[in-house]
Symmetry: C2
Subunit: 555 residues, 2 copies
């Protein structure tokens, strides 16, 4: 296997995009029949149906003690049905260790070729993967297609490009000639990018591929074998990815054990034991802060995306309705189950400035409630934007929030009346907006995962910014939205939030939302606040996966 012209072109474009950070998408995000074929969606749906019927045999890992699977569709309120091979940790580690000593010696061009090939294979299964994602995460169809398919594949390719670049950062060898007066000292030197060892990638239940493939591909391009351990509630999307990586490895003549799927069940979790295994040198994790922080304390290279408390700062706007439309969509989208969804809306008690005068806090709050209702009540939009709820605990959190937290409820949470008969059992929960005062910090200073948002009355925008910064510094933040028409205030917000390592989206209206995060351009999680220590994909994200070691000898 070598890097074909076609794959080289894909890699070169990706590398250029990583540098320029301009728009680039290798994989089209629209599930359009014109792009993906007339029968692609139907074929995908049928493929998903057959996957539901039995054992996921594609991996050909072998040696399983039994077949397990606990995925449950929040659309059908029924088990997904797919079963996966349960393989002992020792077997997984032994196979990975053997594969390590082969894969680490494969050059970066060949590694890139295999990995791009696997993405090309995966891209043929985007629709099947979309249905697998919908019925494990509860995402709406469009998000399931985009986030789990093309967007994930782009982020994977970004990691490959970034890793390829870093591996070529220093010369493989050079002649070092030091003038010593009477003669020159001539030393042949070489540098090896030595991969660290077995990588473990632990996935989450809401974005099973998007959050996992960057770590998988970053490990693989830098020569580390990977054990992929998805959340027991959302295995299938990553099982498809791992199967295609193994197919690409096999077809190129490499040991498929370079990438293995490890499954577990809620009652017998294996992530901790795997993470602590001395042969596991790298851990990638998306999930709760408690386990993430524990993992960070291990003496390994650990990359986390944990939780955060995201802020939305309202100061002054050009067009209030467009703003409210945008920010309420951000909360409703996948019912607040995105790590980038805003939670704390900081609104000055004096109101929000507009060209037509100041709009009071109450008017803004009422508009937020009304626009949310309008979106949810639109049968052609609401159910598709909101999707369903992955975990029943999220529904409980939303329904009990008003009672537990207190504060004026501007909008109560409820279920969506389903207009599509096959989804009549769908688990839904619409956004609730609760008013709090800026003094009630204890109430808004933790992540309330799900469709829960707070409208927090502040003295003024400076207090809003101070609180947003404090939340990010203390509890972490992955995103921040801000609306201001004042250039000085804009720079003030950018500067303050940058000190809390939080990216700010200013004045978004229309078809771009604070939740969104583009491969090859937006860094996802910055690594600079408690929401996580990793960033997709900055140089550190790949550099920490291998060690530069020099060898030298007189010529």
């Amino acid at each position: 296997m070598s890097l074909s012209q076609e794959y080289k072109a894909i890699l070169d474009k990706a590398i250029q995009a990583v540098h320029d950070r301009t728009f680039h998408a290798q994989y089209p995000e629209h599930p359009s029949p014109k792009i993906y074929g007339e029968t692609a969606d139907e074929d995908g749906k049928n493929a998903f149906k057959s996957l539901r019927k039995g054992n996921f045999e594609e991996l050909q890992q072998g040696g399983e003690s039994e077949w397990v699977g606990e995925e449950h569709s929040p659309y059908f309120d029924k088990p997904v049905g797919t079963k996966y091979p349960l393989i002992s940790n020792d077997t997984l580690i032994d196979r990975a260790e053997n594969a390590f000593h082969v894969w680490r010696k494969v050059n970066k061009d060949d590694r890139a070729a295999v990995l791009i090939d696997s993405l090309e294979r995966f891209s043929k299964r985007f629709f099947e993967n979309a249905y697998a994602t919908m019925h494990t995460t509860g995402q709406g169809y469009m998000m399931a297609f985009q986030a789990s398919g093309p967007h994930a594949a782009d982020r994977a390719l970004e990691a490959v490009a970034a890793g390829y670049e870093e591996l070529g950062r220093f010369p493989e060898s050079t002649v070092w000639e030091k003038p010593m007066g009477k003669y020159d000292l001539v030393i042949n030197k070489e540098w090896r990018a030595v991969p660290k060892g077995i990588g473990l990638v632990i996935g989450c239940s809401t974005f099973p591929t998007w959050n996992s493939v960057p770590g998988v591909y970053a490990n693989l391009i830098t020569g580390n074998p990977v054990i992929v351990k998805p959340h027991p509630g959302a295995i299938l999307p990553m099982a498809i990815v791992v199967a295609e990586i193994r197919n690409a490895l096999r077809d190129a003549g490499f040991d498929p054990e370079v990438c293995q799927l490890a499954v577990d069940t809620q009652s017998n979790p294996i992530a901790k034991e795997l993470a602590e295994h001395p042969k596991v040198k790298l851990v990638d994790f998306t999930g709760n802060s408690e386990f993430g922080s524990y993992l960070e304390s291990l003496p390994k290279a650990v990359f986390t995306e944990k939780t955060g408390v995201n802020s939305m700062i309202l100061d002054s706007v050009e067009n209030l309705d467009k703003v409210i439309q945008n920010i309420t969509f951000s909360v409703a989208l996948y019912s607040g189950q995105m790590c980038t969804a805003p939670q704390n809306f900081f609104i000055p008690e004096g109101g929000v400035k507009t060209p037509e005068g100041t709009v009071s806090f109450d008017e803004v709050a009422q508009k937020i409630a009304d626009f949310t209702d309008g979106l949810i009540n639109n049968p052609k939009a609401g159910p598709f934007v909101a999707g369903t709820i992955q975990n029943g605990a999220t529904c409980d959190r939303a329904t009990s929030a008003a009672d537990e937290i207190g504060g004026k409820v501007w909008l109560a949470t409820r279920n969506i009346e389903q207009t599509i008969p096959i989804f009549e059992n769908a688990r839904t929960q619409t956004p609730t907006y609760i008013e709090l005062s800026s003094s009630e910090k204890d109430k808004f200073s933790k992540e309330m995962f799900g469709p829960i948002a707070f409208l927090i009355k502040t003295k003024d925008t400076k207090e809003s910014v101070a609180l947003a910064r404090e939340m990010a510094e203390t509890h972490g933040a992955i995103s921040c939205g801000a609306y201001t028409t004042d250039a000085e205030m804009k720079e003030y917000i950018a500067d303050e939030m940058s000190l809390a390592a939080t990216p700010v989206s200013f004045n978004l209206t229309g078809q771009i939302f604070v939740n969104q995060n583009a491969a090859f351009s937006d860094f996802h999680v910055t690594g600079g606040n408690p929401s996580g220590n990793a960033s997709f994909t900055n140089p550190d994200y790949v550099n920490r996966r291998f060690t530069w070691v020099g060898m030298r000898e007189p010529a």
Copy 2:
């Protein structure tokens, strides 16, 4: 201040050298009158003499509670005499925090200009610094000049070049245009390299500038203010560097508190309190493993060089005498007080292969003893190569090693008879070589800092390599030397040691030694084994000092 043509040329050359890793030295390593001026040495000696007489006033930090200084010359066996301002940690932190908010907004060209200027100023004081280094660390004159002067300045410049490069890695701003079918989404994006905050650089007593300036300059180029906390036994060399950084800052119109000197005493150490201060976000440390590992456990960006157990593997040689000459010099140089000095000599029980036949273990051991004696007994070489012993505990360790460890003593340690009258009180200790068997792992698996080396009899070279790898993986290693004329064995050693993240110097003879480590070319400490988590200067070494944060807004 802006980047002058002259400084730009220095920076550009340094950046090129960082990429190419070919030989580059901005600052000549020879203390030659032709290069540095006829009176440079005499002037430096006199400058050092006057510094010994009182308070080190150059810093102009102000606000000191008292003046302290405990440095003791191992050459004179007398106090150095210089006193430094004792300033409270709170004052240091407050000043650094204020300086942070100015310095972080200075662009990278201006930062580079100030830093190169400070190195140019420092270079005018290399001789003064050499004497300051001799009389605090005990190094011989030549090493004191080179390591503390030009080599340190080159490593500092390397960090500036690497940091400058990383800061320019991504565009400051770009226009991101995403085709949306009917229209294009146009977003203005910008990326900020946000420095993390106050940096603390904790120095060691043996290489006070060489080990400290990379962290200082890496912090400064990336926008972080620095508090430099030298070892109380070796303050003066870094006091001179800090004074010149402050002069360069002041002359360029910046707050000199961007770089402060913090001193302490053996009885009242301040490093821990400073490191734990919440405003301190970065810690650079050189020193013992215990404190280094504690620092690594802090939730900060920590860069350590701790201790290691360095191996020398003898398999087969072209010319045994040249090899023994080289490796015994490596141990004698600064009496084994270099972090790169070899300790464990692994020699097969069957002997070392040479073109003239195999030379037995005993013959090799005897040659090692004889060559060491020859070097030490040469009055024109021995005392200058060996220098003196920084810390009395090192002498005790060497003198008691034979009794405590057991094993055949091939060469006993002793003092050097001083031929220079003014150094008649010099504290010296010559290398001791003790034979051990490969089964006595407990005896050779910890660092015996100082002039102590073990001749370890192994079954064969494979066992030598396995032990060298195990030592490096388990206890850390900063260097490894290996002698083999067999290409296959060479690759085997390189591969095995690379897995322990240890650089290997093969077949060194003549005027290059395993201890040596060149700026712009050799990575120092790889970050991949327990000897430390930092590497001078790989991309991580600068990248971990700041965070990429993106801002975006519709155009």
